[in-house]
Symmetry: C2
Subunit: 365 residues, 2 copies
DNA sequence: TTGAAAGCGCTAACAG
DNA sequence: CTGTTAGCGCTTTCAA
């Protein structure tokens, strides 16, 4: 009933040990689930610890042990839902095994040296999950040099030699294209992201391949350059809409660009999906909030976050990571922004959405 | 030229001291800018430390000293731009005084006790910035009970007795209303958030007051219930649009709801701002990305984050915080979603936007 | 101005 | 099964 810790600071292991009438070591062993303690002693120690509200001091343990049961996530940016979803998965997985997750944000402006930053993180975290920003080669260099367990969450391109979790952009984009083709579209526009190797390039390649595979011409006019932003998507879509023969469907490189496209299509007095079908990529939470809700390719972001933590923990615990690069599958999420084209168009054999689960739920959230 | 730390772990203070030919204490004093070291000795120690790439171990310092120069931010959610902006400001301010900022995310599901969590944070952070989630009274209780410096970033309601940074919702909403009135609107709809005391209620009150002050009737039909979400804003706006005499302007309780309203308006075949003016609240980054870009009330989110850190640092350094609650001003950001109503309407004396800076830039970003 | 000793809270390594 | 000793890297306190 009485508050355990009144005025004399946090309860330490010494307090617990004393109250339990055992040595600190025994108390430590008991509380950490180590062997070498009688069941009875262990029970008693745990009881006292609980009663006193004891909590191990992570700074002390890290200093003594090298372990804090904390993993750090290095995030380039905290203002987008994409990264938010990644963090949800990572946090969940960490908590499940009694680890804590802390997020450290990268800021561009007068940044301390990457190397310096990594050493700081190493001082209190047992391992690091790095969410890569676009094109940061020196940053990646620092990761290579760092002497702590690291897993890279790579939603853009490729990082060799470091354990990496990514999703299959080529496959995802292929699925999107097949979905549109099966609905009967043959004149499909593509809204690109920045022109650099990586996810965007993979998706564009898939767009071209699938078109070619179906004997359709790849019309350069139908590829409109954006930059992953809503405004970029808006402008790119507008260019597509002003074409003499405009597409009946648009595939946006990511959901945010698709939002811009949606704006542009509506502004042109057209309707989605009646006049134009629209499909995005990522399935961030907002994708289900637009009107009409966006059909999109889901990257398993939550799963990726979880997977990163599990791979990291394996590394921390000295288990050899079998595969240095885990590529997770994408999934078609059919909502209401895609439909057959107005004037029919040729229809492919199986008109159902391949492997589609028309649910708006998050990936095993 | 040669790498300073090759195989034998991080450089410690002992290494530096030895190389400099002084005691650890002298090295410590020199590096921490304490008095009691000759200028010459200090210079030498600093030189060696730099050369060796020494970096103080925060875990050790925290253990010894109680200080880590780390501040923790407790965030309810990392998937919204609102909180992202807050964090940008906080991170910037912390870095400026050589502190680091770490973010800890609150998850709803099977949460450890709040008390427990705060004690964890206290073990490595010197102070805490708590971004309040909606209606979490037990959480606030834990904050009261915590024995560490705390500042509350309260974007919703009121928390007495804890130093708090907030912005002025009533004032902001008043400015928004006056902007619409000055443009000539008199039939103005309001999209609410959840029905609870706090920010949303303040904004609604302002809506009603300003209307009354201008001799305009507050028509309950024009107040449409949403929930801060895009979908909620969509539905609420749709109800407004189906009114026999629909409003010429809509004031959404936040930007996200305004995005939904924009969807609804366009879907109804109407144009913003030609047929209907639309104004939001918050000025999250996406507000400038819609088409048309959203006129909105800017909460100084970055500034709020900065202010929270500074208040916290004052507390950490034992300086008495003068005011327990800092309320920061809001600002009208005129973009392209507001205009005079189509059929004129009565125009108020000064038709210019009050205190408006029609810039899309972030607040002193 | 400098240094030596002690200790922050914990655990590894070695006794008993 | 349990306890003792030593030490993680740093800073405080006290002495020179």
């Amino acid at each position: 009933m009485d508050k355990p810790r009144s005025s004399d600071g946090p309860v330490t292991l010494a307090h617990v040990a004393e109250r339990a009438g055992v040595s600190q070591m025994t108390a430590s062993r008991a509380l950490n689930g180590r062997t070498g303690v009688s069941a009875k002693t262990r029970r008693e120690v745990v009881r006292i610890a609980t009663q006193l509200g004891y909590r191990v001091n992570v700074a002390a343990r890290k200093l003594s042990n090298g372990r804090s049961r904390i993993i750090a996530v290095l995030a380039p940016d905290l203002t987008n839902q994409f990264i938010g979803q990644l963090l949800i998965g990572a946090g969940e997985a960490a908590r499940k095994v009694d680890y804590e997750m802390l997020v450290y944000t990268l800021f561009d402006e007068n940044r301390r040296s990457h190397d310096d930053m990594l050493r700081l993180l190493q001082q209190f975290a047992d391992g690091l999950i790095a969410i890569l920003p676009r094109g940061a080669t020196d940053y990646v260099q620092a990761l290579y040099a760092a002497s702590m367990p690291i897993v890279v969450l790579d939603h853009r391109g490729e990082v060799a030699a470091l354990p990496t979790i990514a999703s299959n952009h080529y496959e995802g984009a292929s699925i999107a294209m097949r979905h549109l083709l099966e609905l009967g579209h043959s004149r499909i526009g593509f809204l690109t992201g920045p022109d650099e190797p990586g996810a965007c390039a993979d998706r564009l390649t898939a767009y071209q391949h699938v078109l070619a595979q179906h004997g359709l011409r790849v019309d350069p006019q139908l590829i409109s350059a954006g930059d992953y932003t809503q405004r970029g998507g808006f402008e790119a879509a507008r260019r597509l809409l002003s074409l003499r023969k405009r597409p009946t469907a648009i595939f946006a490189v990511n959901d945010v660009a698709a939002f811009g496209a949606l704006d542009a299509i509506k502004d042109a007095g057209l309707s989605v999906p009646h006049d134009i079908s629209l499909i995005g990529f990522d399935d961030i939470p907002m994708a289900s909030q637009t009107h009409p809700p966006l059909t999109t390719i889901r990257q398993p972001l939550v799963w990726m976050g979880r997977s990163a933590v599990n791979t990291l923990l394996a590394q921390i615990n000295g288990i050899d990571v079998a595969s240095p690069r885990v590529t997770l599958p994408t999934e078609l999420v059919v909502r209401a922004s895609t439909a057959p084209p107005q004037n029919g168009g040729r229809v492919l054999p199986s008109a159902g959405a391949r492997g589609a689960k028309p649910s708006a739920q998050g990936c095993e959230l």
